[in-house]
Amino acid sequence: MGPNGAGKTTLLKCLATLLQPSDGEGTVCGFDLRKEGDAIRERVGLVTVRGYVYDDLTAEENLRFSARMSGLKLGADEYRAALARVGLERVAEQRVRTFSTGMRKRVVLAQLRIRPLELALLDEPYAGLDTQGMALVDEFVREFRDEGTTVIIASHQAGEATRAAEQTLILNDGKLSPMDHDEAARSHLSFESLGAGEG
Amino acid sequence: MTSKSGLANVIGIAALALFLVGSFVGLFVVPADGMQGDIQRLMYVHVPAAWLAFMSFFVVFLMSVLYLIQRDLRWDRVAQSSAEIGVVFTVLTLALGSMWGKPTWGVWWTWDPRLTTTAIMLAIYVGYLAIRSFADDPDKRARWAAIVGIIGFANVPIVYLSVIWWRTLHQPPSSPRSVSPEILWTLMFNLAAFTVIYVYLMMRRIRLAKLEGELEQRMAYHG
């Protein structure tokens, strides 16, 4: 949890090996952040606010593309099932250009869910989703947890950050500090009013 | 006078002296070339300039590889400096080449393999300096420049080879005549003088790059 510009997205992109940390070392899923990027990317899934979705491809083609790029060999029915899972089976053949942000986000969630992961990085996952969509995210997070996949959710809304989480951390001004989860959950305030005071 | 600038100034004066002597010998002392006559005296500035241009870009190549391996901006500063100095030498080489060509072949420009390659080399390293000016982040700038520095340099021999094939298919290559020892010595002397000039310019230009780097950092910090 942290205000806009605290570095949430940067941190997640570093973990996903998209950004080279300027200095210092680190490991993700046990692999060295700088040298073993390949192994990390095998195990880590990243969902950004906009997601990486091609407007001129249909929902199913987008899913097929990201699955094959992740090294999966799946059949058409598995793609259909994955789309059904996010409620897009009726629009599977339509181009994503015609989708609303909520529907587009569901394609991104399907792309994430279809891959076996050890770590899922979700940057503002609830943004643009209706209540049903949000419930879907919660469901996915619980499923990931049951499968032993670590999930990191980044959000500036305290409510969103804590609703499916078991542990809460505050990222402010580049520093990451633990915070009592229950207090954060109860707060239901957006981060600006909550954390700004302490500075 | 602190030690660093002292050394630079000493080298600067040495460069000045060497080139003075080299020019004097090249112009008045050494006998003119039998065939070409006095115009051949331009060789004592044209050839060293061409050699230094090539050497500068070789330094850019080395520093670019070093930077990509160690990611230390020091190498990038040396590459940047050597590229800028290299471009100066290349422009000089081309100008002197056409000055030599006009009386000898009657034209300001000939598609002589060496001249053509030098012109293309100039375009490559203008591209190198251009990509540096379009990148704001120092690390990205250094990385992109290093890539252009490496690929650009790998391109030079290929260009030279292809241009030679292109020219020799049409006009027999000029056969290298035996050069008298005096001419050779004068050329070598001027080459040494040019190299010392290069070293001096590099010391100053690298220092400038260092200060500009710090300035950029502080500006970003204060900005």
Partner: protein
């Protein structure tokens, strides 16, 4: 191999998008025809002259048309969240280079399928008797152009002055390829008594191999954020 499979997936995606939108292909064919038309118009009715320089005109047309497709190499990525969208996947990032390279080669060759016949008509040159050799030179030249082009397109994609930087970096590097392709094409079309075209084809092959190795080696560094 996994690398080639992933590269092919990118080619599949790009060709699918191109087939649907046809943005690149139409623009390129129109531009190429325009360039050739202007050349033949400018050089006038003297067919003898036109035939002599047809190789040069053809390859200048291909090079400038190719620049259009290079500028759009990462277009689909730019409108869908940036190149990092491809870098987030596992596997060697070189798959991206290979995918985009094959894509560019295929598109450019497709345009050349239109370009060569158009040149035959406009410049009154006989292509059919030498179709095989010309195809070989065209393919070798297109590969060389696409290798250097795709690499520099990746390097300059997030640069401010990309439209200036791409040609500025590209053309000096292309000189050997252009020399080889132009001379080989001209010799084939006009007549090649001493089989000089062999030298130029060897130059094209060396150029392709050298730049393929260098580009593949350095590409991941060019992509780093």
């Amino acid at each position: 191999m996994e690398l080639l499979r992933r590269a092919w997936t990118i080619v599949w995606k790009d060709l699918l998008i191109e087939a649907r939108t046809k943005q690149a292909f139409n623009a390129m064919v129109f531009f190429a025809a325009l360039v050739l038309f202007i050349f033949s118009f400018a050089l006038g009715p003297d067919t003898e002259l036109l035939q002599q320089v047809s190789g040069g005109l053809l390859w200048v047309g291909i090079a400038f048309t190719g620049i259009l497709s290079l500028n759009r190499t990462y277009q689909s990525e730019e409108t869908s969240g940036g190149i990092e969208g491809l870098r987030v996947y596992p596997g060697d990032p070189r798959a991206i280079f290979l995918g985009k390279l094959f894509g560019n080669i295929i598109i450019l060759l497709a345009v050349e399928m239109v370009l060569f016949p158009a040149a035959a008509v406009l410049f009154q040159i006989q292509l059919l008797p030498h179709a095989l050799e010309l195809a070989g030179v065209a393919i070798l030249g297109t590969i060389g152009f696409s290798i250097v082009g795709t690499f520099y397109a990746a390097l300059t994609v997030n640069l401010r002055a990309r439209e200036v930087m791409l040609p500025l970096l590209l053309f000096p590097a292309l000189i050997p390829m252009l020399l080889g392709a132009v001379n080989a094409t001209t010799l084939i079309v006009v007549g090649d008594p001493m089989l000089d075209s062999g030298i130029w084809i060897r130059l094209l092959v060396t150029f392709d191999v050298i730049f393929f190795v260098i580009s593949l080696w350095i590409f991941p560094i060019a992509l780093e954020e």
